[in-house]
């Protein structure tokens, strides 16, 4: 257990250090959100209506952006060998790294959402809902992404490959994340999509480490 926590903490710390990539996701998120009003024009009702979806899409892309180095760095410097021999199951190694990565890249998006929501002219209610759904949904995005990150571990410059590989599998998370917000603001009701969103996160919490560990084992060579 102490190795698990230490590995999660170290992954978060390395990600937050210079060159670690945690900030690039946040800056990317901000850039997308800041550009949207210029493209859409100064139509506040329209912005408010598409705002939650824009925030979700920006968060989705920002999450996928930083995933490619998750296992590659450890493979390149030999740490992965020692983690495989650490006595902790590889599934837990994956989970610890995913948690550390989410703390450094996913959580800042959730925390930044109120500020970015203001840029899109969202009201307090909508901002709260987007932040809540991102808090529930970004773990699923990161966890699904770890499978892609594990698959491209042996590849050079796999950044875009991860995004393309993982994107189709993250669409349900996007649908139910945005669906919760629009359901709560409109008339559809938010209960069902919210529960499905939570279920997606819980299911990927269990399944993604198993799949990613299998991918890492297959890449041993």
């Amino acid at each position: 257990m102490s190795l698990f926590l230490a590995l999660a903490g170290r992954t978060a710390r390395l990600s937050l250090r210079a060159g670690g990539g945690a900030y690039s996701g946040l800056v990317f998120f901000l850039s997308v959100v800041a550009v949207v009003p210029f493209g859409v024009g100064p139509d506040m009702p329209l912005l408010a209506r598409i705002g939650p979806a824009m925030l979700w899409i920006a968060a989705l892309l920002a999450t996928l952006l930083g995933l490619d180095r998750l296992f590659q760095d450890d493979r390149d410097d030999g740490s992965l060998d020692h983690l495989i021999l650490s006595g902790m199951p590889l599934e837990l190694v994956v989970l610890a790294k995913a948690i550390g990565h989410w703390l450094a890249t996913g959580l800042p998006l959730v925390i930044g959402t109120p500020v970015f929501g203001l840029i899109l002219g969202l009201n307090a209610n909508a901002i709260g809902l987007v932040a809540l759904t991102l808090l529930l949904g970004t773990p699923a995005l990161t966890l699904i992404g770890t499978i892609g990150a594990a698959l491209i571990t042996a590849m050079r410059r796999g950044g875009l490959v991860v995004a393309v590989l993982v994107l189709p599998f993250t669409i349900p998370v996007l649908i139910f994340g945005v669906g919760t917000v629009s359901g709560a603001l409109g008339s559809g009701g938010a209960g069902t999509p919210l529960m499905i969103l939570a279920a997606l996160s819980l299911a990927s919490l269990v399944l993604a480490p198993i799949a990613a560990a299998a991918a890492l084992r297959a890449a041993l060579d």
Binding site: L3, A6, A18, S79, I84, L85, S86
Partner: protein, 202 residues
């Protein structure tokens, strides 16, 4: 006291048979030196024994068969597993938590290899030889009976080579065993010298 039995080991990489019919026994307290030309399969053999490469045939057995191989061996390869932005002590900190009998604290281990003054320095500033030495310190953090060392003395100065010799000597004297792949003479007499040639033991 752990004994390692390797029998009829064969390893393929990229569809090519690198090793076949490799058999040897490593008893507690023994040192096996692996020699052979570049590409003879020394690193492949060490990685296969550690379980970092799948083997296509043969068996690798520990007597007694506890703990599992992954927890019984320390692998020391060409890569030093150092994160440039973390300090030397922080880098080693993680490896005090892996499975195995508790060994030395990070400061003690660094003192043993003569790098205690550099504990707070980011690993990015270490020289090639110093990085190897930090790798030796990792071997001391958790006690595991079998050391698998891949060219441990490359990039070392003569003083560091002696430090390494002393560490290896103590490990063997306390009942541990080691397989060392090397091109250079070691400061310690080996029980067995395995010379790898094309595809197996020459």
């Amino acid at each position: 006291m752990t004994q390692l039995d390797v029998s009829d080991l064969a390893v393929e990489r990229g569809g090519r048979l690198i090793l076949s019919d490799v058999s040897f026994v490593l008893r507690a307290g023994e040192l096996i030196v692996l020699t052979g030309l570049n590409g003879a399969g020394k690193s492949t053999l060490l990685r296969a024994v550690a379980g970092l490469l799948p083997r296509s045939e043969g068996a690798i057995r520990l007597v007694p068969d506890e703990p599992p191989m992954a927890e019984a061996c320390h692998y020391f390869g060409h890569l030093d597993a150092l994160k440039p932005s973390l300090s030397v002590a922080d880098n080693l900190g993680l490896w005090t938590r892996v499975a195995g009998a508790p060994g030395l604290a990070v400061e003690e281990a660094l003192a043993r290899i003569g790098l205690d003054a550099l504990a707070d320095l980011p690993a990015a500033y270490l020289s090639a030889g110093q990085r190897r030495r930090v790798g030796f310190a990792r071997l001391l953090l958790v006690r595991r009976p079998i050391w698998l060392l891949d060219e441990p003395t490359s990039a070392l100065d003569t003083e560091a080579e002696q430090v390494f010799g002393a560490l290896l000597g103590q490990h063997l004297a306390s009942g541990g065993s080691a397989i060392v792949a090397t091109h250079r003479p070691l400061p310690i007499e080996a029980a067995t010298v395995l010379r790898l040639g094309a595809g197996g033991i020459a």
